[in-house]
Amino acid sequence: MTTEALSPAPDSASSPGRNDGIPAIETVNLTKVYPGFFKNQSVTALQGLNLTVNRGEIFGLLGPNGSGKTTTIKLLLGLINATSGSAAVLGKAAGDQISRRNIGYLPEETYLYRFLNARQTLDFYARLFNMNRAQRARAIEFYLDFVGLDPAVRRRRIGTYSKGQARRVGLAQALLNDPDLVILDEPTSGLDPLGTLEMKNLIKELKRAGKTVLLSSHQLADVEDVCDRICILYRGKLEVEGSIDQLLEVRDVFKVEARNVSVEMQNQVVALLKGSSEISEINPGVQRSRLEDLFKRMVLEKRAAEKAGGRAKR
């Protein structure tokens, strides 16, 4: 994947209301219950989700397996129907056919036709966006170059591709229409470390191009590197939401960052702090926890609480 500036795709100027103040995504009490044959077999995948993703930000959707991340994405795309609540995407009801023209979606696995080659695949998707022959040809070559698909394999059937190659074609189809909102479900899945790095750079590039990115991933380090804001879902409920900096800030630790501070000045500051009996530890430098720690802590706490609750019930 190259990290060149995103070239505007055909009709990129045709997306009305990019900066009209309407959130890219807004959900209100969004609930999804998968019904079972019997009532006690039904599963609540998402429960009263209230979420707002602003335009132009990279938003991370986190949670352990079965927490409702993919369900949320499917609800936003209209692939499944909400049991209650509502969701709006780019100002229209979730699943609206017309608003989907400004959305790009990369599923967690690459779901593409195995009998088509990369060019035919992108040609098919380009036709859905009313591109003429010349526009299609230009966009296909641009995005195949953009995602770094080896030209030697472009005429081979996707069924013969490696997972990483198919993933790149999947990403190209998600970006083909120059979408305002890009939904990436496990974007680095199946990519090698270099590909992962390129993907992260690409996501940042999308933000620079003014796109909104909704990212769902288990690769917490990657999310931490690229996301502006995140939320963590647990068992279908929103447990944590906020900016990365806010959430990862250690509140009982004061940190000052400055450039070109002389050793003498540093010593003076440390001496000043040592003069106070309330300060227990003085550790000059950056103090920050890891997102992974936050994530694990939250999940483990919840599980412990559930266990305790279960014992109390018994």
Binding site: S14, P16, I98, R100, R101, Y111, Y113, R114, F115, R127
Partner: protein
């Protein structure tokens, strides 16, 4: 068109489906033609994008093997199956080629259409597609369009191959016929060119015609409507209305119908033989030989069809000798086989079904006059006085209570290979001026409304003529050396297909809009010969069309059938897996293919339709299962009425007879297919619109 309760219900259901389709899918429907934004074109272009990918899917599924398989199978068939005679060679090839295309194409596309959507769900490509500005309706329509395009391409390839095979075969046939004719002509010339049959037959005009014109035709005809042809036996045209006769000693038979529920009094059920119900036969006997036969015998038989819960339909009969005045009486030995008795408690008849009586004269040298009878008054049900041949007397103790047969007894001629025959006179019969009536005759009644556009041609005598052609087979039990003569003109049967120029005034009223029906009668007047006829044996000729266009029309019929099956298969697969989809679409196709048979099942009764009869003493268990089965048949008949009718697709119906398929027929077939497909699409959309993907 008759609208019964079932038909009305069906149209209401279809209308409701379309209303629901419009109510829920109006937005998707408008988006098919509307462009809401620059980066989102019309829905039809997205439908085609999906269709194009579906076409690639079919191609990747090795659908291109189909024409090769078909070609190989057809060539094997063509080389192994031998025609009865050379005139049947091309029709046989046509049937082989078209049937092969139809079967292989339907099977392959049925499988693909059933599997495609379930496989997309399974591989989740639908998830990616549904995240694009693509509606569920567009996905379904795209699938149907893609497989239809595949069918069109395959049919185009196979159609071109068919045309090549047929034109090459026709060329070879013409060359072979030309050579055969040349040899016959040389032989004939060597014998001195004598027409004397002892010197040898003259060269075949049929061969000459075949070598010159070939056999790839698309004739345009006006034929009689359905049931427009009948055998009327011998007919006396000098009387008004003309009088029909059946000939003694021939295969001719008259069938008389009586009203259903031929009800008898209870007492007749237990009456000793000799005092029970009976039939009376009355005929005017006309001798046709000199001296006339000393006695005249008739073979009679009676049968009731559709008896429920009782014995299977069984005929009982006897040979009767007509007494002086042409009368005979017959008391059937088993009146319970066809009579309807009133129930002990309810007093209602037990529905014995419709009773028919057949009469055949076994004595040669006589004619029996057929009397037409009359239907009962539709309001009062009273017997309408009219001359009749057969009456039924339920209770001989009550004079004047006889029930005559219904109007229009049907005369049957000899039947062979689904064709009927009209026979010429037999040896010793009075012919020519000594008999005022025509020999056995087939009547073809052309509807006046069909005679508006009959092309006429001016001949040298200054008169205008139209052409009537006949396709008649001949059978010669005697005098095989003699040509067969038919009425109207003397025609040799050498070419079998004959054309007669008929003066324009026979069309009737000069104003084409006010023409009445025209009747053409065909009789054979050669002793010992007979000609066989079917409904379209006599036709009024119109200018022929191009064969290749006719072949194209037949291919279009297969295409329409394939499109309907594709639509059904895709619809069946929108919610369920491919095995269930295949099962459902097979059920629909089977119902649609055997629709006529399934619809008749309730008329055959409950268990009796399964050839299971309870006998005279039926218990409650039998009655219960009989009723249960009857309701099952009714349910099946209702389902069969609802599913699309596949029997309307007969790609070789016209071309096999070298007859041009009228554009109107093709247009009405296209319209019927569209009317079947619309509710199918509505069902597909309603099932798919809220289905969860992923």
């Amino acid at each position: 068109m008759k609208f019964g309760a079932v038909e009305i219900t069906l149209y209401v259901i279809r209308g409701l489906l379309l209303l629901l389709f419009l109510a829920f899918g109006w937005r998707e429907l408008t988006l098919l033609l509307r462009r809401p934004a620059n980066n989102m074109g019309r829905g039809v272009s997205r439908v085609w994008a999906v269709g194009r990918t579906t076409f690639f899917e079919a191609w990747a599924g090795r659908v291109w093997l189909l024409p090769l398989m078909w070609l190989a199978a057809s060539i094997v068939m063509i080389f192994t199956v031998r025609p009865f005679d050379e005139s049947e060679r091309i029709p046989l090839y046509i049937r082989t080629l078209l049937s092969g295309q139809e079967i292989l194409l339907l099977v392959m596309l049925w499988v693909m259409a059933c599997v495609s959507l379930p496989r997309e769900r399974e591989r989740k490509t639908l998830v990616t597609n549904a995240s694009k500005p693509l509606s569920r309706l567009e996905i379904v329509l795209g699938k149907m369009a893609g497989f239809s395009a595949t069918a069109a391409l395959l049919l185009l390839v196979m159609g071109l191959c068919s045309a090549a095979i047929l034109y090459y075969s026709d060329y070879r046939l013409r060359v072979a016929s030309g050579e055969a004719y040349k040899i016959q002509l040389e032989d004939f010339s060597k014998r001195g060119g004598s027409g004397d049959t002892k010197a040898g037959a003259a060269p075949s005009a049929a061969l000459k015609r075949l070598s010159e014109e070939g056999s790839l035709f698309a004739y345009n005809y006006i034929t009689v409507p359905k049931d427009g042809m009948s055998i009327v036996g011998e007919i006396d045209l000098s009387q008004s209305p003309p009088v029909r006769y059946i000939k003694g000693g021939s295969a001719q038979k008259i069938t008389y119908r009586f009203a259903p529920n031929l009800v008898a009094d209870d007492i007749t059920q237990f009456a000793p033989y000799g005092s029970g119900p009976y039939f009376v036969f009355s005929y005017n006997v006309i001798p046709t030989q000199d001296p006339p036969p000393s006695k005249v015998e008739i073979q009679v038989s009676a049968v009731a069809r559709g008896v429920r819960g009782g014995a299977p339909p069984q005929a009982q009969g006897r040979v009767l000798t007509l007494k002086s005045g042409g009368y005979a009486g017959w008391e059937p030995e088993h009146p319970e086989w066809f009579l309807s008795y009133r129930g002990d408690r309810s007093g209602e008849p037990n529905n014995a079904g419709e009773v028919s009586v057949d009469v055949q004269c076994t004595t040669p040298g006589v004619l029996l006059e057929v009397r037409e009878g009359a239907d009962p008054d539709p309001v009062t049900g009273a017997v309408v006085p009219a001359p009749y041949n057969v009456a039924f007397v339920a209770d001989r103790t009550k004079p004047g209570t006889g029930v005559p047969h219904r109007a229009g007894p049907v005369v049957h001629g000899f039947e062979r290979r689904e064709r009927q025959e009209v026979a010429g006179p037999k040896a010793g019969e009075l012919v020519g001026e000594k008999r005022a009536y025509a020999p056995e005759t087939a009547v073809f009644r052309f509807a006046g409304k069909d005679l508006k556009n009959v092309p006429v041609e001016k001949k040298a005598d200054g008169k205008s003529y139209f052409k009537v052609s006949m396709l008649l087979d001949t059978y010669m039990s005697e005098h095989p050396e003699a040509p067969t003569f038919a009425m109207l003109r003397v025609l040799t049967m050498d070419t079998r297909l004959m054309t007669v120029d008929v003066p324009e005034e026979f069309l009737g009223n000069p104003d084409p809009a006010n023409r009445g029906d025209m009747i053409v009668m065909v009789s054979c007047i050669t002793q010992g010969h007979s000609v066989s006829v079917i409904e379209d044996s006599v036709r009024i000729e119109k200018p022929a069309s191009r064969f290749i266009v006719n072949l194209f029309k037949s291919e279009v019929v297969i295409f329409l059938e394939a499109v309907l099956l594709i639509a059904i298969s895709v619809t069946c697969s929108v919610r369920v897996g491919w095995p269930v989809a295949m099962l459902c679409s097979t059920a629909v196709f089977t119902f649609g293919y055997f629709v006529e048979f399934i619809k008749t099942l309730p008329n055959l009764g409950g268990l009796t339709a399964l050839n299971y009869y309870g006998g005279p003493q039926t218990g409650q268990a039998y009655a219960f299962f009989d009723l249960l089965t009857l309701w099952l048949w009714r349910l099946l008949a209702a389902i069969a009425s609802f599913v699309p009718d596949f029997t309307i697709f007969k790609p070789d119906a016209f071309i096999m007879k070298l007859q041009n398929m009228p554009w109107l027929t093709l247009g009405s077939l296209t319209l019927s297919t569209a009317l079947f497909i619309l509710p199918v699409i509505a069902i597909a959309y309603l099932l798919f619109r809220k289905q969860e993907l992923g």
